[in-house]
């Protein structure tokens, strides 16, 4: 007994400091999980279900934006900082298009809103795609062979350009976005799953599945995967690299445009600098899941949405951002390539 105590003391004193830190981290994590679990049990299942719904809906939007980051990074190793602002721009464009396609408040929540909304979505997505392809042509393609930092800085620059344009267009204020979706919901076990939540989750899921199928099945998708692996070899195979990369930017922007429109319809508010924080979290989501990995980005977005909602719903929201990034650090320490692994060009 005395001997084992002595051994333990020696082991403790001689333990590398790193092991001690690990132990403290594990204890802290267990403590937080314990507190969260007690609160979840205390608040009951219907509340949990409600918060879960909000988290999934919020996460679905992050996921849509994260896909754009991850696709571009996967193919040319560029963190496209302008992507978050393109997401906001999608919201702004759709807000502008709503009255043009007759999607006004009088039709809110009725079947009459469906066709105009589909039209708004499609046109917004196309415009966003076209804008992103132009951005790539002007700001990134000329720098493709330049040192890594050059396109990174032009991406930061494009981000400010887009924010500035939106500021000039609509001013600095929160913009009201019409509440066009039905406000009713389905009651399940004391929680209300809003049709709005279902709409957001379903639409995001459909877009992501279509994207995944497109990348894995279509010829262009194959070209994208090839370009991501080895640009020179792909070019030797007779594939137009420029066209493939432009297509990647187009698809990423299409998803961001849809994401911006969904954000507007869901939260009914937009502001010109929304893209900064949304983009930051979406990028984090992409790293979370493994940058370059499409399924990973979707998973990362979902997780960030869930963590945010859970923390806001059960714990102190002052610490929400801290928790998100603490979890990110933990994940990266144990899995440096993200949850589902990185997919980036080979060197």
């Amino acid at each position: 007994m005395v001997g084992s105590l002595k051994q333990a003391r020696v082991a403790f004193v001689e333990a590398p400091i790193g092991r001690l830190v690990n132990l403290l981290v594990i204890l802290a994590v267990l403590y937080v999980i314990f507190i969260l679990a007690t609160k979840i049990l205390a608040q009951g299942p219907s509340y949990f279900l409600q918060i879960l719904t909000y988290g999934v809906a919020n996460g679905a939007i992050y996921a849509l934006v994260a896909l754009g980051y991850t696709m571009v990074y996967g193919i040319i190793e560029l963190i496209n900082f302008a992507h978050g602002d393109l997401f906001t721009l999608g919201g702004f464009i759709s807000l502008f298009l709503l009255p043009i396609f007759g999607a006004d408040a009088s039709k809110a929540g009725t079947a009459g809103i469906i066709l105009p909304l589909i039209a708004v979505f499609l046109v917004t997505m196309l415009i966003c795609g076209a804008i992103n392809v132009s951005i790539e042509r002007v700001a990134y393609r000329p720098l493709r062979r330049a040192p890594r930092l050059a396109p990174l800085i032009t991406a930061v620059g494009m981000s400010f350009v887009l924010e500035g344009l939106m500021f000039l267009w609509k001013g600095p204020f929160n913009l009201p976005y019409p509440n066009l979706l039905p406000t009713t919901g389905i009651a399940i076990g004391g929680a209300t799953i809003g049709l709005k939540d279902i709409f957001v989750i379903a639409l995001a899921a459909i877009l992501m599945v279509v994207l995944a199928l497109f990348v894995s099945r279509s010829t262009l998708g194959k070209a994208m995967r090839a370009t991501a692996q080895d640009q020179d070899a792909t070019e030797l195979m007779g594939i137009d690299i420029n066209r493939t990369i432009a297509a990647t930017f187009f698809i990423g922007a299409v998803l961001a445009g849809a994401g911006g429109t969904i954000f507007g319809l869901y939260y009914n508010t937009l502001v010109f600098d929304l893209g900064f924080s949304a983009g930051l979290f979406a990028f984090t989501a992409a790293v979370f899941g493994g940058i370059g990995n499409i399924q990973g980005a979707a998973l990362g977005g979902l997780l960030i949405g869930l963590i945010t909602a859970m923390w806001d719903g059960y714990m102190e929201s002052t610490w929400t951002q801290v928790i998100i990034f603490a979890i990110l650090i933990l994940v990266l320490v144990f899995r440096p390539t993200g949850l589902l692994g990185m997919r980036v060009p080979e060197k």
């Binding site: 509340y47 919020n58 001013g171 010109f272 600098d273 806001d312």
Partner: protein, 418 residues
């Protein structure tokens, strides 16, 4: 959109005025031969808080235009904007006050709008004996020493005034009154004893939310949920609102400003819970009604100054103002308090000129004259400053959203402290 054009108009008008001031200074007609004195202002006139900042700046500009000249000096107005990236910014405020101090024609300023901006500006102005009068700063630690000031705001009134002489005055009632006034109203009038409280975690927002909570508990009420959000990254208040609903909240209190999304959660309450939404003065404006969208009714707000519309003597001034600034959003709850601040400053400049034998007074003389302000009759009240720079008899007003189209409507006002 309109607002943006208006802002552009204001900038152009401001530039034009500066241009005329430059040429007018030398020529000078009538009783304005002695030179030029500039009254400066610092407000958030372009960001999310512009819905408070522009109406306040209009009030200051109007007071200066109305006066035109003072004891042979031509009076002109010059406005600064403390917004960076859409939100009020203490560093920008500090830069602005340095620019003001660098211009010898500027003898004092009215502003700022936000307490954290004031905290950055006061020490710089203090070293130059440059007088500041604010209509809307309500953080109590700007003027009064409390044991928690150092911990909560990182500074104390004494540290803010390195040369030891007070240069900062305000006519707004401090947050020691605003949060409690809202809590009293919640319990006594709205009969809400269980309240969910959130704040934007800023000096003003968190401070007012804390004081609301303390008073609510003192009156036997309970804070059922309390959250502090980073509003830059928060889009979803529904978990908080659902929590509030589950815990039986009879009202929501928001400690924030328009720049920190004060009324966005109000819109998200639709379909979750339908209880009164209470805001401090940072939310009593047109932007809040826009942000609250379909849920804009049944909101209550406190304003840390009297409503000029309740003063029959102010009617002529209000009518003249409305003839000069015609848009609905040109006037806000701090337009006339800001107007009164500018009048107090102009009045003090006048007395300082007299004290200096009719010559251009020094900034110290102007500061001294402001501190000696006694029973100044303004549109929103009669003002005397105490040694801290606070008004001796501040007023608190309560507003509520009502009517069609919805607007903030005066409910009542009462003297606090004093």
């Amino acid at each position: 959109m309109q607002r943006r054009w208006y802002t552009a108009g204001a900038i152009i008008a401001g530039l034009a005025m500066v241009a005329t001031a430059c040429t007018g200074g030398t020529g000078g007609g009538g009783g304005t031969t002695k030179g030029e004195i500039i009254v400066a202002s610092d407000q958030p006139t372009s960001g999310g808080d512009a819905s408070d900042g522009i109406p306040a700046q209009n009030g200051i500009q109007f007071a200066v235009e109305q006066a035109g000249s003072i004891k042979g000096f031509k009076l002109t107005f010059k406005g600064w904007d403390d917004t960076v990236n859409g939100n009020h910014d203490p560093q920008k405020g500090a830069q602005n006050i340095q620019e003001m101090i660098a211009d010898a024609k500027i003898l004092g300023m009215v502003g700022p709008n936000n307490s954290n901006v004031a905290r950055a500006m006061i020490p710089i102005a203090n070293r130059a004996s440059f007088v500041m009068i604010s209509a809307a700063n309500t953080n109590e630690c700007l003027t009064q020493t409390f044991p928690y000031c150092e911990a909560d705001t990182g500074t104390t009134p004494a540290k803010l005034r390195p040369n030891g002489v007070n240069n900062y005055f305000r006519i707004a009632a401090a947050d020691t009154f605003q949060g409690p006034a809202a809590a009293d109203y919640a319990v006594d009038t709205l009969k809400a004893t269980k309240v969910a409280v959130w704040s934007d975690n800023e000096t003003f927002g968190k401070g007012v939310a804390d004081k609301f909570s303390t008073e609510l508990q003192k009156k036997g009420g309970t804070v059922v949920v309390r959250q502090d959000f980073d509003t830059k990254t928060t889009n979803d208040w529904k978990p908080f609102l659902t929590d509030a609903k589950n815990k039986g909240a009879q009202a929501i209190y928001a400690g924030a400003t328009s720049g920190t999304k004060i009324c966005i959660p109000r819109a998200q309450m639709k379909g979750i819970l339908d209880v009164p939404y209470m805001v401090p003065d940072g939310g009593v404006n047109a932007q809040c009604i826009k942000d609250a969208a379909e849920s804009a009714a049944n909101m209550y707000g406190t304003v840390a100054a009297a409503d000029a519309n309740q003063n029959p003597d102010a009617k002529a001034t209000i009518d003249a103002f409305k003839a000069r600034f015609t848009k609905k959003e040109d006037v806000g709850s701090y337009t006339f308090p800001a107007y009164d601040c500018a009048k107090i400053l102009i009045d003090a400049i006048g007395r300082a000129i007299d004290a200096n034998g009719g010559n251009l007074p020094s900034r110290e003389q102007v500061r001294k004259a402001v501190s000696e302000t006694k029973n100044f009759k303004g549109t929103t009240g009669t003002y005397t400053f105490d040694p801290n720079g606070d008004p001796t008899s501040p007023t608190m007003a309560i507003f509520q959203t009502k009517g069609s189209p919805l607007d903030w409507v005066f409910v009542k006002q009462f003297g606090v402290g004093g």
